[in-house]
Symmetry: C2
Subunit: 730 residues, 2 copies
Amino acid sequence: MRSFVCLLCLLLMGLVLFAQPQHPLTFLKKNEVTQLRKNIALYPLLNTSFQEVKNQVDKYVGKDVDVPFPKDAAGGYTHDKHKSNYTLMFNSGLLYNITGEAKYATLVKNMLFKYAKLNPTLGKHPQATSATPGHLFWQALNDANWMVYAGMAYDLIYEACLPKEKKIIEDGAFKPEVDYFIKDMPVWFDLLHNHAVWACAGVGMIGIATNNQEYIDLALYGSKKDKKSGFIAQMDHLFSADGYYTEGPYYLRYAILPYMLFATALQHKDPTLNIFAHRDSILHKALITCLQQTNTNGVFFPINDAIKDKDYTTNELVTAISISSTEYGIEDGLLTIAKKQNRVMLNSGGAAIAKEIAARNDISPYFPYKTIESVDGDSGTTAGVSILRNGKNENLSSLIFKYTTHGMSHGHFDKLNINLFDDGNEILTDYGSARFIGIEQKWGGRYLPENVAYAAQTIAHNTLVADETSHFKGDGEVGEKYHSEKLFSDVSNPEIQVVAAKEVNAYKDIRMQRNEYMLELPSGKKLLIDVFHAFSANKHQYDLPFQFNGQFIKASFPYQPNTQNLETLGKANGYQFLWKEASAKVKDTLAQFTFLNGKSYYTISSLIQDSAAIYFTRSGANDPNFNLRHEPALIIRKNGSNQTFVNVIEIHGKYDAVNEFSTDAYSSVKKINIIRNDDKMTIVEVVMAAQKIWIAQTNEDFNPDNLHYFSNDTLKFQWKGPYQVNVHKE
Amino acid sequence: MRSFVCLLCLLLMGLVLFAQPQHPLTFLKKNEVTQLRKNIALYPLLNTSFQEVKNQVDKYVGKDVDVPFPKDAAGGYTHDKHKSNYTLMFNSGLLYNITGEAKYATLVKNMLFKYAKLNPTLGKHPQATSATPGHLFWQALNDANWMVYAGMAYDLIYEACLPKEKKIIEDGAFKPEVDYFIKDMPVWFDLLHNHAVWACAGVGMIGIATNNQEYIDLALYGSKKDKKSGFIAQMDHLFSADGYYTEGPYYLRYAILPYMLFATALQHKDPTLNIFAHRDSILHKALITCLQQTNTNGVFFPINDAIKDKDYTTNELVTAISISSTEYGIEDGLLTIAKKQNRVMLNSGGAAIAKEIAARNDISPYFPYKTIESVDGDSGTTAGVSILRNGKNENLSSLIFKYTTHGMSHGHFDKLNINLFDDGNEILTDYGSARFIGIEQKWGGRYLPENVAYAAQTIAHNTLVADETSHFKGDGEVGEKYHSEKLFSDVSNPEIQVVAAKEVNAYKDIRMQRNEYMLELPSGKKLLIDVFHAFSANKHQYDLPFQFNGQFIKASFPYQPNTQNLETLGKANGYQFLWKEASAKVKDTLAQFTFLNGKSYYTISSLIQDSAAIYFTRSGANDPNFNLRHEPALIIRKNGSNQTFVNVIEIHGKYDAVNEFSTDAYSSVKKINIIRNDDKMTIVEVVMAAQKIWIAQTNEDFNPDNLHYFSNDTLKFQWKGPYQVNVHKE
């Protein structure tokens, strides 16, 4: 009988062993570790990355690491401590697997014990100001970050824990956090939004680490497990089919991390899910699209809320590139970035990158930037964003033309906005966001009130404002219901690239249409021709701002500077933040304004038909806490029902301050004429010093096969499709 | 008879040959060329420098180079053309010697022929606005530049010219220019000033190139040859004995070029002059002092008029370093800079540098910056400038304390001014100069009216302004008569460095004394303690501005922001250019202001005894042409007869925007007390979070051997000499 019982025990234990997968299996697989250990000795970049992690962790080994009771907002001690704690636990877990040294497991275990004691005692964080408060942190999002990393850390030392230790950790450190998300905040957990991606990844990661299939299912399919939310739905609905993330590249930079980390754990846990292949390898498309949406210096384009300090050397992108290299293989463009990151993750993808970098001397210092057009929306709407590019390496010019959906809670009211980057610099700028992330004195590192009040408003962008009111009257919920519509584009010829889009919902009685032409003339000169129509049955005041970044060099028109007294340009909708530095009344003229940025001159040449006002403004008014940057803009104001703005933005000349040379410092645009402009078509003539350019475009019929005609006494055009550009040497 | 005549001819020819030295002998010596040719094949940096010159010149070989009739101001076509022409001639002359190819001599010759035709026809330049107009250029200074380079170019092809060609060039291209300087502008030619250094070098260079001893003597000893002016006097009087150039490093950057070039030609022409050894090798001292007066990024400190774009990679410094290496030998610090310049001159010094760079892999990426104190004045006045330094490489902190003479026509009204550089950035700034050099649209590239009206005024600096009036009432001629006086300094301990200076002439009834302490605490924290006394028998309004460069983080005191309407801080003396963004009334408190620059926080903690006003201002008012940068300042205003400003400027914390960490973001200064303050001594106590610092200083007796005592109920100090700093851990 006794032996029978023993046999039964053994059988049961065997079943348990069989049912319980071997750990680790979130970030690393057990069988990955041996090879990794060998590669660390072989490849310098992997080695230095390992040493960095080791140096960081070794400072804490054998010490009592503080796990403080939550008190401070972002930037404060307890916030930063819990943040550095989860990284420390993850890194120490990695080291335990790589080195086999028990001290690293002990470090993690002791910290998790402290969390096991702390977490059940926690309620809403004392500094919580959002609708989704956290426990360890002021917002639940940061708790989710903690869950992803603490979950991986636990998985990495799982095999070093006794059953009773496991119980303490799982019940104490993890269950209260998971319960809080699932039971107290299911609505938030079920959102399709970057916060919820983190939340699902957090719950799911803990599920995999603790062998809890229920948690995994909640993470994959939502709190109701109805697949309307959860990680799979987040993969299906937050990206367009070509990988554009609806919140924009700055937020994808952040969201790519839980996507990649949880997908890795899922791949290890259940390869049959084939998660990395899901939706035609959407995670790979997302990564590449996100990297294409950076400037040559690696900074993410400021689409929607975005802090301009962030570039692709952030930890999120290091992780994403190492994982992508594991799952999708090595790619040249990613090697370029990995080299700049100068760091890889301690996994097989990181090892593969380090091996390539050690072996190859032909890795380009430049990411292969190209013209890229992305749809925005999960089911192929006509919304999207086009990035037109010309030139290469340092001399790349990138025009961003945004006709997306609103972009969720971080969206700005900037329908049909454009931005220009050139020579590595932001030339026509987007304010980005008003936030000092991680700086406690600046409202606990949160988004500042000026973010919604100014940075998100239409006037802070480079697109049309009617009647000093933002698009959708500045109501994000209304904005979420609509999207702009791409009319056509043609980027087949790098010397003549064109995109057109329209927006009919931002103002109820105004149809806006913008055609952007990015040209390279035979001389090599680059210029943009920007044709912006506002059609309405009613009279409006139309403001078209150009947020320029550079030194004012010369205006061709007389203006009245406000030299002794400044007032604001307006009272609301962002206008209250603008000082009116100068104003001009112009009539039937070509108004030209030249500024200098770095080594290049830029001239905006604006056709003024009838009369208009021009303002030079600078942000910084109504800013009692000095939260805003002080940035200049040129604003062209016209009144009427239908109005067309034709602007030529020219990149010209070279300025060398060191050697005191300045060449081609003057605009070549001599005149702009509108030859015809009505519902059907617009014909624009740009007279330059050495050539004439004609733009013929249709305004209603965008069928690529239809023929169009125009003739007058001196000109005759016939073209097929929605546009034609002719350049004639004089 | 026939053979006798022939013999006589030969003898005469021999005499002529004997009397005429072999050319070239200005920039290169004939015997230098063969070795140079060999070295070009051997050393990569010399080779690429040669190829750059060759590529530049080859574009013009066989072409008809335009020598236009002068018309435009700086930045315009004719200005830039004549400027590029003289470089082209010089470079082509070099190539003729190195390659032996006649086409390079022909290029120079043809251009000089055109100048020989043009120059005799020229009068005052049509764009001349200065008192010293040029012929080829708007100002005579640029004509002098042309003479130096055209003179060297002619010398380089001298041997390739027929006697009649020489006559055409010497009479046509050169004589009118020399005559214009000597006969029409002797007063200017005889100045002790960077323009006249160029003028003398120009005349002297042409003298050496054309074997005209008269020109050489005029250049060396002045238009009256009385040695009161001319090149030797310029070497004797424009530098202090330790190599500080009275106009400051930005202008020495410019003046070092004619000094070095003409000295080279003199050395070749008449080695007995031993010009490079003159005044204890003053040219070498000048070069090293000038390089010590740069920031870690190579930009010259903005002492006096200075454009902040200029760094030590300019052509002037490339030339100076190559020549210094020829004449004074190779030095490690210069190799560091030569490597950053990535270019050498085609002479034996350039070859020696290229050889070292090819052979050595231990050249530091950092110039050996150190604390350096320079006297200003040819005969050892008490005026000067101290640069206190702490830390090294990227973490270098440099405090500039200026107690110089006025600095001639480019001087600013900034007695006892300080500037701080840290972590590669300018933290407490100097506006520099208001000028867009080489940009025609900005007043022909000249100094803008705002240069004198704002940039030179006291309020644009970090020093005391009494009664909203600049030092010397803003009169440069008065300022030239006086200088500040150093009281003492002690820089022997890098952790406690101190300099004190006084100024008694800037305001007729005010004695100003400033003591600067640059401390490194045992914790490694760096801070400045700035004690600024104003002693007067009469009541005054005293303003102490801190021009800070960074993001406003937090002020400890309540202030009234001007959110809807801005007015200027004052009406004149630079105050009219400042918008008053906020003002505060403070009383008996510690007023603290924290800002962020790059990765570091900086806090100014100001002791307010009794009452004071504090203003936050920004430059940019009264600037109808948008010539000024918009830069913030904190201004502390006190009223009274005697006033003491005690400010602690603390460098603290780290901000990492990419990884969202912010540490040590708050000031550690808790309190500042003045324990005693009178004519005799000042005792200051700074209470910090973890220690107390006491500063005891004398205000009248600076004898290093005298003993001083202070005691009250709780404190007792005894010290020797003019100061004592005690740091006590709490």
